[in-house]
């Protein structure tokens, strides 16, 4: 089974667990920063990068402002192309639709390429409970599937695992010799194992990167070629997409395909950008349009902008908190900064910790290819969550105390003095494990005096 639903620990507690192994945290941090640097090189090589981002942002926002029309236009064109279009209000309906299509064809085994939507819907768990087998074909997803873990990153599902651990997983599940760790050999092993799967599965499910309203086609981007191997060899192709994946025109792809992979991995484009317009003659192509909370988010003025997301993962790679806490600490199909503004819409109580898993440094907003104001939304979610009463009680008490101190100049001066005296005279009172600021940090040397005290002594006398 994949990660269970119940939350026994919040993001901060899981991040603390992740930080027990310091060399490993540093390794995780550096690996993701390396990808952020590749993104920078790719972005800086395009002189009009900012204009491209602005154009993408406007196209996406326009699409959201006319989404009901575009959905109907897309549906009509996709049907005219020979696709069967389904509508799913929530995760359960999506899973039931997939199940019923498989049942109609008497299929009990399916191959699936990367789709964060099916992670969000827990499709694999659902189908396994019905006695069906699903094999994930993206290499990273297959690895975490064998390890019975969820992906920790939307683009790099097993970025949290070391090659030796992957060698061990393959040894346990695929019968390779023990101690393998060469990525070339491990990838070749997975290639052989999954080739057999592609050749024998009658049904394949893929995600959707972009759907075009004016043509009724959709585009799937992969580097491995796994989506195409699955879809072209199977009799039935099912494609699942969130309703926010629409764009108006085919020519808009020129904007988005230039941005997507440069932002994600620093590549100029994915190896394959596959445009599916019609089913192969004699075969079926099912497209499932999924809402699952998106229409609600569309109605939240402060947060609707998050629906512009094209799932590149740039905000994760750049985030100082994500890099040092790992994807699993978010306990959400989409982790990192973007996940932290999407998840509270789905379940505010369950994901109340996520908007606080940020330093609000704004790096996420700066790298976002569709200019989502991610850090502003994180800040706004915090206010909603506190107002709705879902905030961590420790945080609420701290905030009340701060409010008391900051609202009275005299209390503020006095507390500053007391703080400096304590840090100088009895440093162990602040430099201990009870103080969360002391964790992974040295406490600073306390200044001798406050700025106010210094200014009174030093201000020009002629004033």
């Amino acid at each position: 089974m994949r990660m269970k639903e119940e939350h026994t620990k919040d993001h901060a507690a899981l991040a603390e667990d992740f930080n027990q192994d310091e060399p490993r945290v540093n390794w995780h941090d550096e690996t993701l920063w390396f990808i952020r640097e590749k993104r920078d090189r790719a972005a800086f090589a395009i002189p009009d990068w900012e204009l491209l981002r602005e154009t993408a942002s406007q196209i996406k926002f326009h699409t959201l402002s006319n989404l009901s029309q575009y959905l109907q236009q897309f549906e009509a064109n996709a049907q005219a192309n020979g696709m069967t279009v389904h509508w799913a209000a929530d995760a359960q309906e999506h899973n039931q639709i997939v199940h019923s299509i498989l049942q109609q064809h008497g299929v009990t085994q399916m191959v699936k390429s990367k789709s964060m939507l099916t992670e969000e819907c827990h499709l694999n768990d659902y189908l396994e409970q019905q006695g069906l087998e699903v094999i994930d074909s993206d290499l990273g997803e297959r690895i975490v599937q064998l390890a019975k873990e969820p992906p920790s990153h939307i683009v790099l599902p097993c970025i949290h695992l070391k090659k030796e651990e992957i060698g061990n997983i393959f040894h346990q599940h695929l019968g390779t010799e023990a101690g393998l760790s060469d990525p070339q050999i491990l990838t070749e092993t997975a290639r052989q194992h999954l080739r057999e799967t592609f050749l024998t599965r009658k049904a394949a499910l893929t995600g959707v990167n972009f759907a075009i309203a004016e043509t009724g086609e959709f585009v799937v981007c992969t580097n491995e070629g796994n989506a195409d191997m699955g879809a072209h060899l199977a009799d039935v192709h099912i494609a699942s997409m969130g309703i926010e994946k629409l764009i108006p025109r085919r020519s808009d792809l020129g904007v988005f395909l230039r941005l997507l992979t440069r932002s994600a991995t620093g590549q100029p484009i994915t190896t394959y950008s596959s445009h599916f317009k019609k089913p192969r003659p004699g075969h079926e192509l099912h497209l499932i349009l999924v809402d699952n909370g998106r229409s609600v988010q569309l109605g939240r003025e402060d947060f609707r902008n998050s629906l512009k997301c094209i799932r590149c993962g740039a905000c994760m790679n750049t985030c100082p908190v994500y890099r040092r806490s790992g994807g699993h600490s978010y306990q959400s199909a989409v982790a990192g900064p973007i996940g932290s503004i999407l998840a509270p819409n789905l379940d505010m109580k369950k994901h109340a910790d996520l908007p606080f898993a940020s330093t609000l440094c704004g790096s996420c907003s700066n790298v976002c290819p569709v200019k989502i104001d991610i850090h502003t939304q994180l800040y706004k979610w915090r206010q909603v969550i506190v107002k709705e009463g879902y905030a961590d009680p420790k945080k609420a008490i701290g905030m009340k105390a701060m409010n008391l101190v900051l609202s009275s100049p005299n209390t503020f001066k006095l507390s500053g003095k007391a703080g400096r005296w304590f840090m100088k005279t009895v440093p162990f009172l602040v430099s201990n494990q009870m103080n969360p600021w002391y964790k992974q940090r040295e406490m600073p040397q306390p200044p001798k005096e406050s700025f106010g005290e210094w200014y009174r002594k030093n201000r020009p006398q002629h004033d």
């Binding site: 690895i143 990838t187 580097n223 195409d228 808009d252 004699g282 229409s295």
Partner: protein
């Protein structure tokens, strides 16, 4: 009320006031030599790029690496002397699993990212450029566009059942960010730029 009606009603009710659809500005590629730019980027992403005069030269080059025991398939009539077109039917697609080399034509290349645009009429069977161990794409050298915007302008409202931009051999870096060529699709991609 069906889910379709419910979703559309909720979306219509919650969508913000209509904003204009922007015109895509005209973007330019700084480098004037498209073939040079294409070749440079394509090599960077793992492709081999060779400029050739004619089909005979392509045959000469390919037959250095591929021998009689290799299975070579192609839908391109000009290479039928050494590449087989008989299994290129959808019901026989699974039989392509032991193909060593597939040779296909591409419509045009994109200089900024080394991608080739291919549609299913050029393939015979959709799975061809994925299931083969090695792939060769023949591209008319003068059919090169600078950017993806130009690519879609060229595609226009063309009719196809399936189309794909192919940029390099299949690859993955899922294991510790180590790049490995030959994930599920071809292990190599050779692009022939033909006069």
């Amino acid at each position: 009320m069906t889910s379709r009606e419910r979703i559309l009603a909720a979306v219509a009710q919650n969508q913000p006031a209509l904003t204009p659809l922007p015109l895509v500005p005209s973007f330019q590629l700084e480098t004037p030599d498209l073939v040079e730019k294409f070749s440079q980027v394509a090599v960077n992403i793992g492709s081999w790029v060779l400029e050739v005069r004619d089909y005979e030269e392509i045959q000469e080059i390919l037959l250095q690496d591929f021998k009689a025991h290799h299975r070579i398939i192609s839908h391109v009539p000009e290479v039928s002397s050494f590449a087989d077109a008989t299994a290129l039917e959808d019901p026989q697609r699974h039989l392509l699993e032991n193909v060593d080399l597939a040779i296909i034509k591409g419509h045009f290349g994109v200089a900024e990212n080394g991608a080739c645009w291919v549609t299913e009429d050029l393939l015979g069977v959709r799975v061809v450029p994925f299931i083969c161990q090695h792939l060769a794409i023949i591209l008319p050298k003068h059919q090169m566009v600078p950017l993806m915007h130009d690519a879609y302008e060229k595609i226009g409202d063309a009719e196809y059942g399936y189309g794909v931009f192919i940029a390099g051999p299949s690859k993955t870096a899922d294991i510790e960010q180590s790049l490995v060529l030959g994930a599920h699709g071809p292990r190599t991609l050779t692009v022939f730029l033909m006069e």
